[in-house]
Symmetry: C2
Subunit: 199 residues, 2 copies
DNA sequence: TCGTCTTGACCGACCAGTCGGTATGCTGGT
DNA sequence: ACCAGCATACCGACTGGTCGGTCAAGACGA
């Protein structure tokens, strides 16, 4: 069933994931009941528990999706062509863009950490650390080349920048005056300038 | 009651507020039951509902406290002495310091917005906007004087910086290697440098 | 005795998750 | 061509338990 191109309807599993993402982002994980999720997806509880082990399982699925996407995109830009400054700028602007394009995912990702099962939380944290380290290595690379100032630890720079990314879910509205690309360019500019050595 | 310096024990109201703050920060508002709060404060539910209207009332009280403190401190630095660059640097470093010193408050403040009653949320948002605007005005002042670069909107700079503040609750640990003062200095440096005009 | 403070049993609502059952359709033996 | 056997997909009433909040009654200082 559901042969390519023949089915207009999303499969049930996907509908559940979409509904859960929207609701978790809007009202938070704890304030969303399973009943609401299945109602939004147009199925019953039984169907949900057929596809997922638990409500937490839905959340884990969302985390996995976000982690995979973030890492993929960072790799692509960090290992790309150009000077280290160009690569850092491109990677930074892309993170903002991706975050803005998947705002619901990002809201959940940054706000629901403490709802994860301890084991899952450990995995997420480890994955997240690898991600930050890849970003940090770009900064260190620039510092060693002498094109970035090195009187602030690279870790600090990364935490500084990712704060801004994290924060996007709080203030950015897709129907506001700014596109994701614009915010991405501004923020990447600010990051690069804060790294410009004194002349 | 509770005359200054005479009572060794914190009054019940204060104990409840402290316990709620600690628990909300640790496990989140929705995952903390009233039962746990009153147990941690060493009183019963009845006592709590004598001092507070509801669980939400506790949260509102915490928000009010944070809002008042933030605004007070910003005013003091923004209206202080020195060049605009010095004042912005001092204000920025102070926000970080205050956030780190009251990490539980900050975690709650930045994570529990969507649990607020709609009316309260409106008030909090308005107060928060006034706060951001005061900060933004400092940036604009520097841009008009020509000591800050003005090719990035001041609002963007403020959102960029407060993201980093917001984010502190996620990664900063009081018993880690960095003091709040150090983080404050680093972040304020990064902010000021990102505003340095091309020479 | 009056008002403030505190108690703890209790309430109805709601929650995540379970379970017995049904419908559908594929598979392979005849 | 047929049917028995079985797996997948789904249903929705139900359960055990927790939740925020209430209330009548007591404790106690003024």
């Amino acid at each position: 069933m559901a042969r390519l191109g023949t089915s207009v309807e999303e499969p049930v599993r996907q509908r559940l994931l979409s509904a859960a993402t929207r609701l978790f982002a809007e009202k938070g994980f704890e304030s969303t009941s399973v009943q609401e999720i299945v109602a939004a997806a147009g199925v019953t509880k039984g169907a949900m528990y057929h596809y997922f082990d638990s409500k937490d399982d839905l959340l884990q699925e969302i985390y996995g999706r976000v982690l995979r996407m973030q890492m993929d995109r960072l790799q692509r830009f960090a290992d790309g062509e150009g000077t280290v400054a160009e690569r850092l700028h491109a990677a930074a602007a892309d993170v903002i863009n991706t975050t803005v394009d998947n705002l619901d995912d990002s809201k959940i990702f940054f706000r629901s950490n403490h709802q994860l099962a301890p084991d899952t939380r450990k995995i997420v944290r480890a994955e997240r650390r690898r991600y930050h380290e890849r970003f940090r290595d770009l900064v260190i690379e620039g510092q060693q080349e002498g094109v970035f100032r090195d009187d602030v630890p690279a870790e600090m720079v990364v935490d500084f920048f990712f704060g801004s990314v994290h924060h996007l879910g709080t203030w950015y509205h897709p129907d506001g005056p700014l596109t994701g690309g614009e915010v991405g360019r501004y923020f990447a500019d600010l990051l690069l300038r804060s790294l410009t050595p004194a002349s």
